[in-house]
């Protein structure tokens, strides 16, 4: 069975047992709009230590060829872990209020 996500299912369409019967469905839910604080990444200051990448609970740090390329705001919830884990000498991530 494949679950539908484009519209809300009726009770007769749901798989029994409250389960989600395929993996990686969280990719389809853009949770970035929960955010009130936004991390802003500075490519000039970044030393690509990947501390933020390994610490991000939402896998929202984008990496290509072992280099950070930015932050995926579709999934970043603005928790600030990336900014706090970033080595003080680099300070490549700053948290700013979303409305700014």
């Amino acid at each position: 069975m494949s679950m539908k996500f484009d519209k809300l299912m009726t009770w007769k369409e749901l798989p029994a047992g409250c389960l989600i019967d395929e993996p990686s469905t969280s990719l389809r839910f853009k949770t970035g709009d929960w955010r009130s604080m936004r991390p802003v990444w500075d490519s000039e200051k970044c030393i690509h230590c990947l501390f933020c990448w390994i610490s991000c609970p939402d896998s929202a740090i984008k990496v290509e060829n072992e280099k950070i390329t930015g932050i995926d705001y579709n999934y970043c919830k603005g928790c600030g872990i990336c900014a706090s884990i970033c080595p003080p000498k680099a300070s490549a991530i700053e948290m700013i209020r979303e409305e700014k």
Binding site: L8, M9, T10, W11, K12, L14, A16, G17, C18, L19, I20, D21, E22, P23, T25
Partner: protein, 392 residues
Amino acid sequence: MKTVAKTGNEAMAYAMKQINPDVVAAYPITPATEVVQIFSNYVADGEVDTEFVAVESEHSALSACVGASIAGGRVMTSTSSQGLALMHEILYIAAGNRLPIVIALVNRSLSAPINIHCDHSDTMGSREAGWMHLYCANSQEAYDSLIIALKTAEATAVPAIVSTDAFILSHAMERLEVLEDSDVQNFIGEYRPRFSALDLENPKTYGPLDLQDYFFEHKRAQIDDFSKVLDAYDKAAKDYAELSGRYYPALEEYKTEDADVAIFAAGSTADTAKEVVDDLRDQGRKVGLVRMRMWRPLPVEQIKKALTKFKAVAVMDRSDTMADFGGPVFLETRGMLYDSEEKPLITDYVYGLGGRNIKLTDIARVYDDIEQVAKAGKIEKLITYLGVRGEE
């Protein structure tokens, strides 16, 4: 088939041995301790293949059962009273996730005052958790019911509680017939779970958060699945009857064909009431008994058909709703009959709380009362607390 002498607890433990579940997680509590104590002996002696998980509470016991069931195992446990109360939140989780766990339960009153003896307040307090409930009248039935309940639970993905009356059944030795291990195994068949967390080819998410957008739909689907339990149960009970010669309908009628009045009761009291019915029948009195065996889901149509033919019915409740309106069986029975054109006058007898003995003379007095109600055509006393000092 062989004849043995077993207590209710021994009978349930023996049924568990023959079922040979994949996982049993349990915590001891009087008077159900023996069930898992005996079962753990089977484990230690290598007579079953079960992974026995000794946990630190009933909350943990049922939680471990939930995990094992999600992993695709055939899972059982046993408890009583406060233990079931401590399992309460997990009862809903097991049912909501459609995990066909079976509990061998011994009915015991809930504290306070602290008491270890029989009443039905424990399971009656859990009747909205989404589990099938079966109340047994003797050890034979407890043995048979566990096997039928497991088959029904796995066919419908609805978990089941099979209960006996504390000490009256759990610790009283009776003669019973048991099946061969192979007959039990053939009857229950290999368990084919609808899903398994160990199915690595088809990863799924189990028990996710479900908010305003989907919770209601999931509950509605669960309620719909519950409506299929009665038919699945009856099929399993009939198949079991072919194997054993013993048929257990969801609702049992005893000498009701021409009866004017009847008692509606559950558990060991119903078997006691049969003796009274026989005595009164010898005196030419038209009395009968309807035994409530399944109380979740409610066999509504069967109950309506059975009870509407009498002039008066006494419901025997071994617990109270604290609603100032009698016991749960009374309340639900009156609700079920509300739309019937012909319906009996129904009174309630709350009895036997905390293991208070119910005597043949107590039951005979109830028949005296309802014959009077039937004759007068009206109810003088709606709710009676039977056998308590200070009450007429």
